[in-house]
Amino acid sequence: MPITLRIALFAGLLALLSNLAVIGFITFRTHDEMSTNRVQQLQEQGEALSDVYRSGGLSGLRSAVLDPDLQNDPQAVVAILDRAGRPLVGSLAAAPVLGGPLHEGYLTAKVRRRGDSTGREASLRLMPIDPGHWLLTGRLTGEEMAVRDILERSLLIGLAIAVLLGLLTGGLLAQFVERRVRDIVGVTSAFGAGDFARRLPAPVQGGDAFAGLSRQINHMLDRIATLMEELRMLTDSLAHDLRSPVSRLRSAADAAVSASDERERDALLGNVIAQADSLMRVLTTVLEIGRSESMTARSQFTRFDPDALGRELVEMYEPVAEEQEVTLSFDGSAVWPEIVGHRQLLAQALSNLIENSLAYGASGGQIHVFIAADEEVIRLGVADRGPGIPAERREEARRRFGRLDPSRSRQGAGLGLALVQAIAHLHDGQLVLRDNRPGLSAELELPRPKLPEATA
């Protein structure tokens, strides 16, 4: 059964059930109300006439029964019957059809009033007056029944209309829903089949729940497409960039195999190991980036003094800088006693930045490591006076395997800044590359932690 039909039927069924409930309630209430009224009327009439009998005797009752007001009431039935049930006085033309001996109480029977050609349905009350006479009071119910019939018929027609309307709105609703859902299904299955460009039509803001859903789906598809594109670029460049170290490894092994002199072979084998190690480093860094991006490393966040870390790294690289005749200096923030973060990874990030500056910015003769804080962020940066990176190429520098050095003469796979960026993201921060006029300033910009409530 198609979903449209199902929704329509369901709406129809709901309309039927709710209307039945309403109709049932109305019928019950009117019926109830009518019979209560009738019984009350009969009782009042009977009691009034009994009072007349008690004070005026049979003759009094007789004149009361013949009272024009009572006799002219088109609904009223009043009569004095003899023992056999025949009318002696009153508005009856013939004895009521009681189907049995007379007995006190309420009953429904057909009566024929004087002037009527046929008997009509009436609610009656019989009361014995004395051993030879019965008082019959009552009201014709035919009109009441007619009202009830009309009411019931219109309720049934209303019910039919309601069910039809229910089916109709259900059908329309289902069609609307189905159309919107079909759009979504169409786009998502096209996406699944490889068409990554398709998106759902959706207003940027507002709209109904479907517009919201479409926006969410578009957002998700965008993210998936970006990730897939990144992944594709990553595997492409990984394959491409692993080619050269692997072929270097291969030729080193070749050379070692063909070396005749034992000492020479040892040296060549050492080279093989060195090449394998550098390959391992590339792979480790790729894994490291993945780990940082997956945020699982957050469980290892601790509280520590960033100044101490910076000073320690500067001290560590100082001898290397000195060998390259570069001055390595450090400025701490002094005002910022501690941050919460991954000490090892931040150390690795800073060390990557220092190594980058040593490799590409050493010509400037100065490398400055600094930690600075302002109202919003804390910056861990390394600035050099080298050639820098032109603004239009900075994005490329951040990318995995993005290497700006055209000759690719230096060792490395161009993963350094990508790793630093991943580490910055892990800390909800970013890697900012600035013009140091001249030179490059690479800074990890991390949000300033809320110190008082921060816990490590």
Binding site: L269, R291, M316, E323, Q348, S351, E355
Partner: protein, 226 residues
């Protein structure tokens, strides 16, 4: 001075390679191929060192390690793992291992680390706080160093380097070990930063003395020895 070493490793090739190498070094080696067996033997036998693979079928290495430590067994444990990231290393160390080595590794690196661990358990008995290597004398309490009676003027980091070398005198110490133990960094800096520090220390230590103490071991690292 053979010692008892337990290798818990499911890869038969690696296990055979380690067993052969360590036996050649004069140690007696036992091998367990899975976590349960490893845990059983480790709690049963009296080993001087356990080399534990991190990824094992059944009970994994970290679980074995935690169970061992929970049982109060303090045998030094060297964890081997293909998981190379800084986070994985820290996880490994925090779960109670004494050292952590990433696969693939060179046998020289493994041996150097294994010897350092074996030596450390020996050194616990040693009450003499002074470290002596040939004519070099180190006083860890005063943080002072003398060679042939002459006081050497070392920077704090140079002192820590030398103390680590001296505690592992006669054994190979790799660059990664220095980075981890002296600087407490668990990443690979990729440049020769460690070499530069060692060569600075070497100039202060050996310049002007006839016999060098700090040696480079090709393809492995360094060694402090007479």
């Amino acid at each position: 001075m053979g010692r008892k070493i337990l290798i818990v490793e499911d890869d038969a090739d690696t296990a055979a390679y380690l067993t052969r190498g360590l036996t050649e070094e004069g140690h007696s080696v036992e091998h367990a191929a899975n976590g349960q067996d490893g845990l059983f033997r480790a709690t049963d036998g009296n080993f001087d060192l356990i080399i534990l693979d991190r990824m094992l079928p059944g009970l994994d290495g970290i679980a074995v390690l935690k169970a061992l430590r929970a049982a109060g067994i303090t045998t030094p444990v060297l964890v081997l793992s293909a998981l190379a990231s800084v986070g994985d290393r820290i996880d490994g160390l925090e779960s109670g291992s004494d050292d952590y080595l990433v696969k693939p590794f060179s046998f020289a690196e493994l041996l150097a680390r294994a010897n350092a661990l074996l030596r450390r358990s020996e050194a616990r008995v040693n009450v003499d706080p002074k470290l002596t290597v040939a004519d070099l004398e180190i006083d860890p309490l005063a943080r002072s160093v003398r060679r042939a009676g002459k006081k050497l003027d070392l920077k704090p980091r140079e002192y820590l380097l030398l103390e680590y070398f001296a505690r592992n005198a006669g054994r190979v110490v790799t660059r990664t070990m220095l980075l981890e133990k002296v600087w407490d960094y668990h990443f690979d800096p990729g440049t020769n930063v460690i070499d530069v520090h060692v060569s600075r220390l070497r100039r202060k230590l050996d310049d002007g003395f006839e016999k060098p103490l700090l040696h480079t071991v090709r393809g492995a690292g360094y060694m402090l020895a007479a």
